[in-house]
């Protein structure tokens, strides 16, 4: 990996009044790396991003963006692109007009604007709708145009805040492809997201922020493997209308309820064979499952563990 990181945040502390929102957070990003920042609402993700963007000064610790403090040196922010969660574009303007505007506002030299705008639209695959007003575009196109406006000045660090919230699967895959392409061009990408599937599929590294502290950080597969070893997740789908006695029996089998009603889960190193034995026992107890699934634990499992303070 490139030895020169683009972003180095060290021991960042920040309080709002009495409340400490960041309690000494470290974060380093290298060129050509996708980093997913995870955490519940209020964990401190937004505050950390604002510190990286130079919009607030840490009470302690430091943020270095391309070697300079973004809060003190505006030039440090020249290599930064931010994609807000909302569609931060002018709705009555076309995609091209929007990107042109943000190119000028990002300080792209006048002569280079047409080429820069074209490049941004090519990278985000929005060229075919270049002259359509943004308000007439589908959600997926709007998301990609939103990214295009943030990369027109060729930033070295791109921060995306919930880039796929509220879009369908096809649109999400298109956005993911754009993000991968940018990574392959050497851009460091920081994604703030609740979408754990996206984070697991896309990110080279993930970080869990909990109550202002980075409690876990690393490569997603490695983190999952470390937490779960060779255990598999067994998911049991039951008919609805389970009584308390039934719930007690399921708990006795080591199953835990999930957020989805009628779906219980447990980790087991025995894999498919263990699932077969569990099925037989549940049938004997009169709790015949509608479906049993066996799968590798995902980042979502790990996130639940971390959030519930059962890990890290």
């Amino acid at each position: 990996m490139n030895p020169d990181p683009i972003l180095v945040a060290e021991g960042v502390v920040r309080s709002y009044g009495q409340r400490r929102v960041l309690k000494g957070v470290d974060l380093t990003l290298h060129p050509g790396e996708i980093y997913a920042l995870l955490g519940h609402n209020g964990a401190g993700k937004t505050t950390l991003v604002r510190a990286i963007c130079g919009r607030l000064k840490p009470d302690a610790g430091s943020v270095r963006l391309n070697g300079a403090d973004p809060a003190r040196t505006p030039a440090a922010r020249a290599g930064l692109g931010l994609v807000p969660q909302e569609i931060a574009l002018y709705a009555n303007l076309s995609v091209r007009e929007n990107i042109e505007t943000f190119a000028v506002l990002a300080g792209v030299p006048r002569a280079g604007i047409p080429a820069a705008v074209r490049r941004a639209m090519e990278l985000t695959r929005t060229l075919e709708r270049a002259d359509a007003p943004v308000r007439t575009l589908s959600g997926g196109f709007q998301r990609r145009a939103n990214i295009a406006a943030a990369i027109v000045h060729q930033p070295t660090l791109l921060i995306l805040d919930e880039p796929t919230v509220g879009v369908d699967i096809d649109a999400r895959e298109a956005v993911d492809a754009v993000i991968r392409d940018l990574r392959d061009l050497g851009v460091a990408v920081l994604i703030v997201t609740h979408d754990l599937d996206q984070a697991g599929a896309l990110a080279d590294r993930v970080g869990f922020l909990r109550d202002g502290t980075m409690v876990l950080e690393g490569e997603p597969r490695a983190l999952v493997a470390e937490a779960y070893g060779d255990q598999m997740e067994i998911l049991v789908h039951l008919s609805e209308g389970l009584d308390t006695a039934g719930e007690i029996r399921l708990a006795a089998e080591g199953l835990e309820p999930t957020r989805r009603p009628g779906v219980w889960t447990r980790l087991d190193a025995g894999g498919y064979a263990a699932a077969g034995r569990l099925d037989a026992r549940l049938r004997k107890l009169g709790l015949a499952p509608r479906e049993i699934r066996v799968r590798e634990p995902s980042l979502a499992n790990l996130f639940t563990l971390v959030a519930d303070r059962k890990a890290a």
Binding site: G54, R55, P74, R77, A88, T101, V104, L105, A106, I159
Partner: protein
């Protein structure tokens, strides 16, 4: 510096394109001001009195020859819109209900001594009563000159003593002659001279051109400045604050656009004012332009400053309504300032409206020079610059 100017221009382009593509807003911005000006000016141009035709209800209780002639003359008069009423109660009822502006009861023979005419007036239409009185006197002189003669003789009797039979006979003969062939009416007391260079509708039209200009300049500027809130909500502000330039050029670009928008609105209003009412805006262009520029700068800066002080769009919307309505009412954009009580007129100087209206009147109506308007220019430009300064400072505050 050049880069920041280009950034501000890019923002002006955004504002212009957004407005151009929102046809409803476009009509509201540029066609509504001249229309509202036309409505206001048609309403208030009448109050100058040059074409007042009060509605008059007449009832004749005397039913003498002279009283019938006076009533008939009033009904025919082109200066009034007179109608007959059956009795004094009907006259009072019509005045009270506003069906007519003023009432006249002919109580006795106009030729006989005493006060034969009773004017029934509504205090809220004060100007109608003296007008009706004057028209009745004219009608008496024109239609019943014999009765007028007899009244004059009656008035002289205390000074001259009783008339001799010969004198009485001469007066009867003269009255008979007057009745048969009334002389052409001549106003022997008054001559009239029009002020040299006075223009039709004049002061009131110049007043309302200025009043509507600043009303709409501020209204449109507040609407435009609300886009700052929209940019905060949609994340455009986040996007730009994460960049090199921040929101500064955005605020500057909006300021320039809103100033230019106010100037275009002013052009629309004054073109109509000149075409329809002959307001001499073109002839006073050298002073009209800086006045318009100062008004535009003031409205743009004030709107941006006020909206920047708000934290939410709801707050900004409420403040905007307050500013547009209350300042306009106090400043004289709705009702003329010269009709307001003195304390309210003084309070008016705290609004840009009063300064703008006064400056336009000075330039276009009073033919004032720079000496008459430089103070207004300074006040308006200072308010605009302060607002812009506040908006710039708050747009940089990263905590907001």
């Amino acid at each position: 510096m050049k880069t920041r100017a280009l950034m501000a221009l890019a923002m002006m382009r955004v504002m212009a394109l957004e407005l151009w593509r929102d046809r409803a807003a476009l009509v509201m911005t540029f066609l509504l001001p001249p229309l509202v000006f036309l409505i206001f000016s048609s309403v208030f141009a009448g109050t100058s009195g040059d074409n007042l035709q009060p509605k008059l209800a007449v009832t004749d209780l005397a039913r003498t020859d002279a009283s019938r002639r006076v009533a008939a003359a009033l009904l025919k008069s082109p200066d009034l819109r007179a109608e007959t009423a059956p009795d004094p109660a009907a006259v009072r009822a019509r005045v009270k209900s506003g069906q007519v502006d003023v009432g006249l009861v002919i109580r006795a023979d106009p030729a006989a001594p005493g006060k034969p005419f009773l004017i029934v007036a509504d205090p809220s239409r004060a100007v109608a009563a003296p007008l009706a009185q004057a028209r009745t006197q004219q009608a008496l002189a024109a239609a019943a000159p014999d009765a007028a003669l007899r009244r004059s003789v009656e008035a002289l009797t205390p000074a001259l003593g009783d008339l001799t039979p010969v004198q009485s006979a001469r007066i009867d003969a003269a009255a008979k002659q007057l009745r048969a062939k009334p002389p052409a009416l001549k106003e022997d007391l008054f001559d009239r001279e029009q002020i040299a260079g006075a223009r039709k509708g004049g002061a009131v039209i110049a007043y309302y051109a200025g009043a509507v200009m600043i009303l709409f300049a501020l209204f449109s500027a507040m609407q435009g400045a609300l886009s700052l809130m929209e940019e905060r909500r949609a994340g455009v502000a986040d996007r730009l604050l994460a960049g090199v330039a921040g929101m500064g050029p955005v605020v500057t670009g909006k300021f320039l656009f809103l100033t230019a928008q106010a100037i275009v609105q002013a052009v629309m209003i004054f073109v109509v004012a000149q075409a329809v009412y002959g307001v001499e805006a073109l002839q006073h262009f050298a002073l009209w332009l800086p006045t318009t520029l100062a008004a535009g700068v003031c409205s743009a800066g004030l709107a941006l400053g006020l909206v920047s002080l708000c934290r939410t769009r709801d707050q900004a919307q409420m403040l905007s309504t307050f500013v547009i309505l209350v300042l306009a009412a106090i400043g004289g954009s709705m009702a003329p300032r010269f009709l307001m009580p003195a304390w309210l007129q003084s309070l008016g100087w705290l609004t840009p409206h009063a300064w703008v209206i006064d400056a336009y009147q000075a330039v276009l109506w009073r033919d004032g020079g720079i000496g008459a308007v430089y103070k207004a220019w300074i006040v308006l430009a200072a308010v605009g610059a302060t607002g812009l300064g506040v908006a710039q400072a708050l747009s940089r505050d990263p905590q907001r």
